[in-house]
Symmetry: C2
Subunit: 184 residues, 2 copies
DNA sequence: TGACTCATGTAAGGCGTTACATGATTTT
DNA sequence: AAAATCATGTAACGCCTTACATGAGTCA
């Protein structure tokens, strides 16, 4: 919230929109969070309501106190969320799913990550175009994290798909010593 | 729950313990989930209470219907959780934190991931020791995911630390053209 | 005029953790 | 006998999403 308003004053609706579009790969907020939070922050003096346009929409601005609070919050160590990776959980019990089922899960995941990676390429073009601001180097850090993660995920998926082929071969042909290439 | 009991019958306490120790890197459950779920599954006939030992502790066993349910659940596509990456959020607004603050965050993260990676090495030894079961190949997939992710995270962190050095140089020395190597 | 977008706000509910109360069994 | 571990269960609470109600402004 404070971070968004540190960029420029905007409405709650716009904050949600920006978070979704710009931070969508690593953050999310819903309206059910946005509006109550905005009210609370106003009460605490961290944001201020700018003249509401003739319509009901009100634009919020971060106050100097809000900037201080933002820095405070940024310094707090990031809370670590309890892990919940549904894909890995399924693969761990993959024996009950079979190689074919696992392959489908991994392939779907791989496709999704590949789409993300393609998206990152476009974002990188935009960020490295000549209009670099003081924020750009920091934004590139987060982009780079996405790229590293996506490339690793794809490499893992490819390895895993190959490993699943081998598993299937073994169970299909029994536990014989000889193995031949995949039929594809 | 069903997955855990598919390995062998055990108490709710033991399920929690196993999930924590074995799946800890990608899954978690709390007692507040375990016991109500166990009760529900019993009512649905997916698990069965084995003769309670003289004490109050009761060991649960998965039923054939439970095995069917497990396969069903495994086939469902994994739910995608709304992203919440506190580290990347902080780096995105890194300008307000400064290169030094960011470096600290990244370094802390790097250290943590490196510890995980070291742990994975030990797990890999155990898994590749001669006692391979039918589950082993699937467990190796999840282990490999952890390794790929950790290596990528470390590579990213190292790049980012270097990038942050450059950012600091630039802001410290002004926007001069010449730049020299880091001290040390 | 009708459709779409911008905008606010809340109610209901789901999910999950934390913390505590409680007690048996085992180990030291 | 004390301390640690195994075990069950729940109450309170926090967080967050979804869905809806509502309406103003904009565009075709």
């Amino acid at each position: 919230m404070l971070g968004a308003l540190s960029v420029e004053p905007m409405t709650g609706y716009r904050v949600r929109e920006l978070i979704h579009e710009v931070l969508g790969h690593f953050w999310s907020e819903s309206y059910g969070q946005i509006y109550p939070t905005l009210g609370r922050l106003e009460g605490e003096g961290f944001v201020r309501r700018l003249g509401a346009s003739r319509t009901g929409a009100s634009t919020f601005e971060i106050t100097p106190a809000g900037m201080g609070r933002l820095r405070e919050r940024l310094h707090e160590p990031a809370a670590i969320a309890p892990p919940r990776n549904g894909l890995l959980l399924r693969l761990f019990f993959g024996r009950h799913l079979g190689p074919e089922g696992c392959r489908h899960l991994v392939q779907t995941y791989r496709d999704e990550v590949a789409r993300h990676l393609a998206g990152y390429a476009r974002i990188r073009e935009e960020l490295t175009a000549e209009d670099t601001s003081d924020d750009t180097p920091y934004w590139l850090l987060t982009l780079s994290a996405g790229e590293h993660h996506a490339r690793a995920a794809i490499a893992w998926a490819d390895e895993s798909l190959a490993a699943l082929d081998v598993i299937e071969q073994r169970t299909t042909t029994g536990t014989t010593r000889r193995r031949r290439g995949t039929t594809r």
